[in-house]
């Protein structure tokens, strides 16, 4: 038992990390599904989409061979519509609300159809939006993730000159760094960022971290407005003995490495425990398995009813052969020679419902020990509390507090996405970016009027 990289052959890696949701193989195949769409009025799928994509319209446009129009319909609501078609938990959003579910029939594969149109647009580099003439206003955006890019695109369309400050070497945020590689490839993420910024008027300064390379004060001085979309990043710690043993890793770092280094360069244990049951936990567990771990066990302190991931995600993990242990909370990591060798786990039961109606786990006093050589912590991410507080931004446990018009307490500083909501879907961040852009435009024009 040990942690090591390069467990599989190139061919095995390729197979394990191939696209989990393959695209339509032909226009005809897309048409079969597109033609099933009923073209609902005031459609539930639109309402279930955080960005309100006009789903029936874009699907209808596929059936009329107006793929350009279809892609435009999607991007108009969601400039990351291509990426979202691959990473959205559609089973609880658009597809989950498709009226066919009520007939006991499979829903329209909305994501797959969305991918069909948006991929065509990206492949052909269709310029579906035109930037208005520059209005001579400058906006700084912190973070080139979904919120920042979405905000930037709307602003650029309106003729605003946008500069994005991004601490990483690539744009896309968690889309690029925090999602399983079998959902979106690093290359796709790069292409998507290039496609979004091809409208012009958006300058991304990579390797520029707020609080390190630039300060909020500087940005406020240099720009007419600032948008903060720097997301969340710090893995929530377990606060258990043995947490610093070798082999105790953060899921975010683990996933980041898989996407950044190449599959054969990422060390993985033989027996891996993953703590948590959110999307990130699933992505970490399945990818540990796909990197060659022989045994992967997901531990969650509540039950299937409370889990944050969707049933579809859970099924992916189960189909990958991951074990699931419900009502289990890590109590202590036991080491040998400074390396994690076992995990002491406490058996939980569900107690009273909390304010949100979710029943909290309570220890039963019962324990068991499992042999592990790697523990991946995916118990949630924490906001950049220090950065927020240092800049005297109003916040709640590090999450930025904004008003209805996306404004923070700082003059001309707006915010949105994970740094405000604490971590939601990509599609939520895209909508936050749109809202932020609308607020900023209003703010800028109010200044012009004065």
């Amino acid at each position: 038992m040990s942690i090591k990289s390069n467990r599989l052959t190139t061919e095995q890696y390729k197979q394990n990390f191939s696209d989990i949701h393959p695209p339509f193989e032909s226009h005809g195949a897309a048409l079969v599904e597109a033609n099933r769409c009923l073209f609902c009025y005031d459609a539930p799928c639109i309402k279930a989409c955080p960005t309100s994509i006009n789903v029936p319209k874009f699907i209808k446009q596929i059936t009329t061979d107006n793929i350009k129009g279809s892609a435009h319909t999607i991007f108009l609501s969601n400039i990351m519509g291509a990426g979202c078609s691959k990473v959205c938990p559609v089973e609880k959003l658009c597809e989950g609300s498709c009226v066919f579910n009520l007939m006991g029939e499979p829903p329209i594969p909305i994501a797959k159809l969305q991918r069909y149109s948006t991929e065509k647009a990206m492949e052909n580099k269709w310029q579906l939006f035109h930037r208005k003439k520059s209005i001579g206003k400058k906006v700084a955006i912190v973070g080139a993730g979904p919120a920042g890019l979405s905000c930037a695109h709307v602003l650029s369309r309106e003729g605003v000159d946008v500069t994005i400050y991004e601490k990483e070497k690539k744009g896309g945020g968690l889309m690029t760094y925090g999602i399983a590689a079998y959902k979106v490839t690093p290359q796709f993420c790069e292409d998507e960022v290039d496609y979004i910024t091809s409208i012009g008027g958006i300058n991304i300064k990579y390797g520029n971290e707020l609080g390190k390379d630039i300060t909020l004060e500087e940005l406020q001085k240099k720009y007419d407005a600032v948008y903060l979309g720097f997301g969340v990043g710090l893995a929530r710690q377990l606060n258990i003995p043995g947490e610093n043993l070798e082999g105790m890793v953060d899921a975010i770092n683990f996933i980041y490495d898989i996407r950044n280094k190449g599959y054969d360069k990422v060390p993985v244990g033989d027996k891996v425990a993953v703590i948590g049951m959110g999307m990130t936990a699933i992505d970490a567990a399945t990818q540990a398995k796909r990197l060659g771990a022989s045994e992967v066990t997901l531990l969650y302190r509540r039950t299937r009813q409370e889990m944050p991931c969707t049933e579809v995600e859970l099924e992916i993990a189960m189909l990958d052969g991951c074990n699931i242990v419900w009502l289990a909370s890590p109590k202590e990591a036991l080491g040998v020679d400074g390396k994690v060798a076992a995990l002491k786990v406490e058996v939980m039961k569900l107690g009273e419902a909390d304010a949100g109606g979710r029943r909290s786990p309570v220890p039963t006093g019962e324990e068991f020990v499992m042999d592990v050589d790697m523990v991946i912590k995916a118990a949630g991410q924490e906001p950049f509390e220090f950065l927020v507080k240092e800049n005297k931004i109003n916040n709640k446990y590090g999450k930025i507090v904004i008003s209805n018009n996306c404004a923070t307490n700082m003059e001309g500083v707006f915010a949105g996405g994970d740094c405000v909501n604490g971590g939601k879907e990509v599609v939520d961040a895209v909508q936050a970016g749109k809202d932020g852009a609308a607020a900023i435009i209003q703010f800028i024009f109010a200044q012009v009027d004065e």
Partner: protein
Amino acid sequence: MRTVDPAYKLSSTQRCLVKDLLNRQTLLVASWIIIEYCIKNCLLLEHSLQKKYIMADISSNFLGIKSPNPFWLASAPPTDKKINVLRAFESGWGGVVWKTLGSQVKNVSSRYSAVDYGGHRVMGFNNIELISDRPLEINLKEIAECVRLFPDRAMIVSLMADNDRKSWQDIIKKVEDTGAHGLELNFGCPHGMTERGMGAAVGQDPEIARMVVEWVMEAATLPVITKLTPNVHSVVPAGRAVVEAGTNALSLINTIQSVTGVDLNTLVPNPYVGGKSVFGGYCGPAVKPIALKFLTTIAQDPLTKKVPVSGIGGISTWKDAVEFMLLGASNVQVCTAAMKHGFRIVEDMCEGMNNWMDEKGFTKLEDFIGKSVANITHWEDLDINFHVIAKIDQDKCIHCGLCYIACEDTSHQSISLEPGNPYNTYTIKEEECVGCNLCKLMCPVTDCITMEEHRVAPGYINWKQWQAQGLPLNDH
């Protein structure tokens, strides 16, 4: 009773093989194939005996021309040569109308085009093919062979001669020598032949049609069916003229002049022939309603209803066939559906019609032929006091909103929308609903929207009576 040589009931491939083997005097093998066929047939017989639930008799007698079922293949490419016709008979078709013989022609390429709808191919179909372009002698020889091989099936030969008595009478003589059971006069082909004064050019002018039928009846000893063109405002004048001239039966409709579409790249309409196109004859499911209307007018006219009618026009299923027969057709002819799916579709046509007849208690075709003719009346005889109101079954509703948007945008704003997330609730405003059926027709769920009867008053009153009594008009 005609006798059937069992060997000829083998499939065409088997038959060729048997013939070949017999020639080579390898009798043993040849016998085995025949034995195998007999075993298979016994199994089939057993199989058919198991289907005891099939009680009704769907055999057809049209002008004394008998066929095991009322399904004939219409005069068209599927019936233009022996190989197709034998395959059709092997598949179970009751009869064929052999593709039109007569005038000398030369065909072009391409010939067909279609209208697709909602992801389905061939809602409508058109063609610019002319009548048979094969040598007459070969056609006649093959017709005779088919009649000999399948004597229990109906063999009708479609004819279109040049417009003179001699041409018509010459070809009738030749065709009658083949042993065919009837003749069909093609007065309907709407493309190509019309430019030479034939086909629809004859059918569109009742007097010319009358003249040609008179020539035909002078020479014909076989029953004569006259096929009418729908490229007229009414088929009744031509129908009457040819009945008066002595035709034994009518068939309708032939194809409708059409342009199926324009290629958006070349800007040339379909079908494409060297950069140009012509109007083609439209057929397929799209024309069924038009055919049924024309059929009904023939079935209701006091003169034309005296002769049997062979119904044609977009028949694809047993249901379509039953509808044609309910509106007065004694049998039906099919083409486009077979061109789309092959001859095998006749199996379900027979079984479906049989099951329906059993359910309805009809034991033979005559029990239901024409039964719906009287149910099409004049508008002014409709009951004004009859009123229906839509009802949405909330348990079945899937909240697609299609009923709402149809009514709200294009009808009577009779559906209310109660917003929900993500599902709205839709209910009928009964006092506003005029009972138009629109919502029910647009609803994708079977029986979710039903039209419930709410008579305005118990008694029958029609438009004339309504008006005579001075009851309110334009009062909605």
